[in-house]
Amino acid sequence: MTNTEELSDVPELPDVRAASMRPVLKPGRWYWPVVGALVAVVAVGVVAWVTQLHEGLGAAGYNNHAFWAIYIADVVTFIGVSYGGAVVSAILRLTGASWRAPLTRIAEATAVVTVIIGGSFIIPHLGRPERILELIYRPNLSSPIFWDFVAVSTYAFASIVFFFLPLMPDLAMARDRLTAANRPRLARLCGTLSCRWQAKPSQRRRLDGAIGLVAIMVIPLAVSVHSVLSWAFTLTSRPWWHESIWAPYFVVAALYSGIALVIIVVAVMRRIWGLKAFITDRHLVRLGFILAPFGAAYLYLTIADFLPGSYVGENGVANVFAQVLAGRYALWFWLFVFAGLIVPLLIIALPWTRRAPFIVTAAALVVGSLWIKRMVMVVAPANYGRVSGVFGSYHFTWISACVTLAGVAAIPLLLLLVFRVVPILSVTEMEEMAARKEQEAMREGADRALAEIERRHDAGESLDVQVEEAEMTPVGRADA
């Protein structure tokens, strides 16, 4: 993948360091008001949650026929979108796609932030959150929920490591910049976090090895997280939850929505912090190309999930499917199919909509629709009375809405805060890419010269070739 076509995407930008430090040093006048507004939304959510603690989960719209609902849909959604960031970055690293360089930091940060939010959504879900540590000191190993807990914590840890490793050299750079900008405290923090990075070749080698290892590990780990998450449902005998296809279905859903979220976050970040020079429209379109096959796969799995149950008409599954496809949940379900699958796929497929703003719209549709899908998929089987065959219902309340919105607001909030401390672009990586491009160009120049020599030799001409002197210093390394 390191052909010249690929590399031509890497912008030759000596000011990448300045750009990546801009959010840290000069975040802009809008920054604190926006952070304040987001904090306010989160605070309202916390107030709602405290009210819910006091009054019971009934206040969030729960009842005996909707014992699992919005918070579980939130958990699945947030942890799902986290997969996108981690895997986009891991796969692009492993395949050596050089155009990834300006995106990895944002993608990895999104993964960390969303897995933390998703994991915390288990807290409003619980009736007795203060007892959550029982999962550690008196676990029941036969419970899928215990293994969910293990899988999500492991994955959260891995994604933090995956975020942190490539960050170390950049933190060393940030330390120097911060010292220069007279911000000693933040500089000291960055210095500590960078673990005395000095860009020694031995350090470099070890770091590259570690990043490669974690990149490989993150992929099966994330597959296992979403499979185990699906087993919380499928290990019950409840109609439509008890489906063997659900584990791969969850993995694909996670990738699909996760890549969509990366597209949104990347687009927003490049807008608010003026990174258009580094993150081009082509980056977004390429991410769109990665999104499309997962959308197609999700469409396929949806059909595969529904066809057998609705065809056979077995009591239970067929009752639930009838309500989902043509009954009380049909509006939501078909909204998901059109807005979450068909429209985004068309946007990416049609050449005249294959442009950055449309791709971002498609991504937004995907993330929103998949939340709806998860609501339907959690609520419909829970609603179904397995003895009476009668459906119950779930209604939103201000509490469940505010808690969920707090989770949504927490994503930009945490990202804004993270990029107040760490460089938003993977500076080191981008410089390496630029250096590689330089070398590539040099090698090409040499090749051309050799070919010329050969040609002249064959033609019996003079061998006195003027080889242009190439710039030997890699771009952006001048001040290192």
């Binding site: 008196r138 290990l235 409840r238 109609p239």
Partner: protein, 321 residues
């Protein structure tokens, strides 16, 4: 997933009228908290005689069942004979009731229920008695009476307590072991441990679990009866509760509230080891014989939960009234 097999079929041969309600006038509301009847011997005789139904004091029968260890020794060979049938009862996927000990010294009672739906008129007496005793909200129907329609279009009623599954899915999925199964086959929830994740509600195929979505009904403090898995009163906000077969009463030889509260004598509570069960009329049955003779079925047998509840299916109640 043939979920509603029992609900929609009325398999099983009709039973002769001889086993109908044997006179509601005999029905006396047993007093709460009364002592255990001492004359166990006569009850034991009643239990091992090859009589399907015989009138004795229900308290006496239960007393024997409750004092299980002693009872087992007293009954001697009779029980050993019965034990075989007790094991034969567990005809589900895994064969025998797992907890019936081979060792007579360690043998305890193995509680079971038989519900004779032919008698049930859907009055919900069981539900109300239970809710009163456990201070439950109206929607917490630990024993719930479902109105069912047979394939022939006729209505019958089916009370659904907790099935006390021998392989309880609710217990397997509980992440913190708040749901457990005691030595006598009673599945209980420790509400001081439950984290309120409600996975058990997802797993129970019988919808037998009820969460405390709002502040539980206040209950007067009973001296000497602290809140416990067997006596989950008052309920605890944010935790799950369910039918406990009045596990606090069983060892004392008293009938569960629902059994006592059924004016039709539908619900029999008994012990698989000694193979005896009794209803609110004091009708005593030998479980093994009774369920075989009446083609009793277990609800959702195909799910492999091995319930401890047998149903004698209803026939044409709608034409009776």
């Amino acid at each position: 997933m043939h979920e509603e097999t029992v609900a929609s079929s009325s398999a099983g041969a009709p039973e002769p009228a001889g086993q109908g309600p044997s006179g509601a006038e005999d029905y006396v509301q047993p007093r709460l908290g009364s002592g255990i009847a001492a004359k166990a011997a006569s009850a034991v005789t009643a239990a091992v005689e090859p009589v399907v139904i015989r009138k004795v004091s229900r308290r006496r029968v239960l007393a024997v069942l409750g004092a299980a260890g002693a009872g087992a020794a007293a009954v001697g060979t009779g029980v050993l004979g019965r034990e075989k049938s007790a094991q034969a009862l567990g005809t589900g996927a895994r064969g025998t009731p797992a907890t019936v000990s081979k060792n007579p010294a360690r043998r305890t009672a193995q509680w079971a229920m038989v519900l004779d739906l032919r008698r049930c008129d859907g009055c919900k007496g069981c539900t109300m008695a239970c809710q009163q005793r456990h201070y439950l909200h109206a929607d917490q129907t630990w024993i719930k009476v479902y109105k069912m329609t047979s394939s022939g279009g006729q209505t019958y009623h089916m009370p659904r307590p907790c099935m006390m599954c021998e392989d309880p899915p609710c217990m397997y999925v509980c992440p913190v072991g708040a749901t457990f199964r005691n030595d006598e086959g009673i599945v209980l929830v420790d509400q001081s441990v439950c984290i309120g994740c409600r996975t058990c509600m997802a797993a129970c195929p019988y919808e037998a679990r009820y969460f405390n979505w709002s502040t539980p009904k206040p209950a007067p403090r009973m001296p000497g009866m602290p809140q416990s898995p067997e006596w989950p009163v008052p309920q605890v906000l944010g935790t799950v509760g369910k039918c406990v077969w009045c596990a606090d009463r069983l060892p004392h030889g008293e009938l569960p509230a629902c059994v006592q509260g059924c004016p039709m004598g539908v619900i029999y509570i008994g012990d698989l080891v000694s193979d005896v069960a009794v209803n609110s009329f004091g009708d005593v049955i030998r479980i093994d014989e009774f369920i075989k003779k009446n083609d009793a079925v277990r609800f959702k047998e195909e799910l492999g939960t091995n319930p401890r509840v047998w149903y004698v299916l209803g026939h044409d109640q709608s034409s009776v009234g």
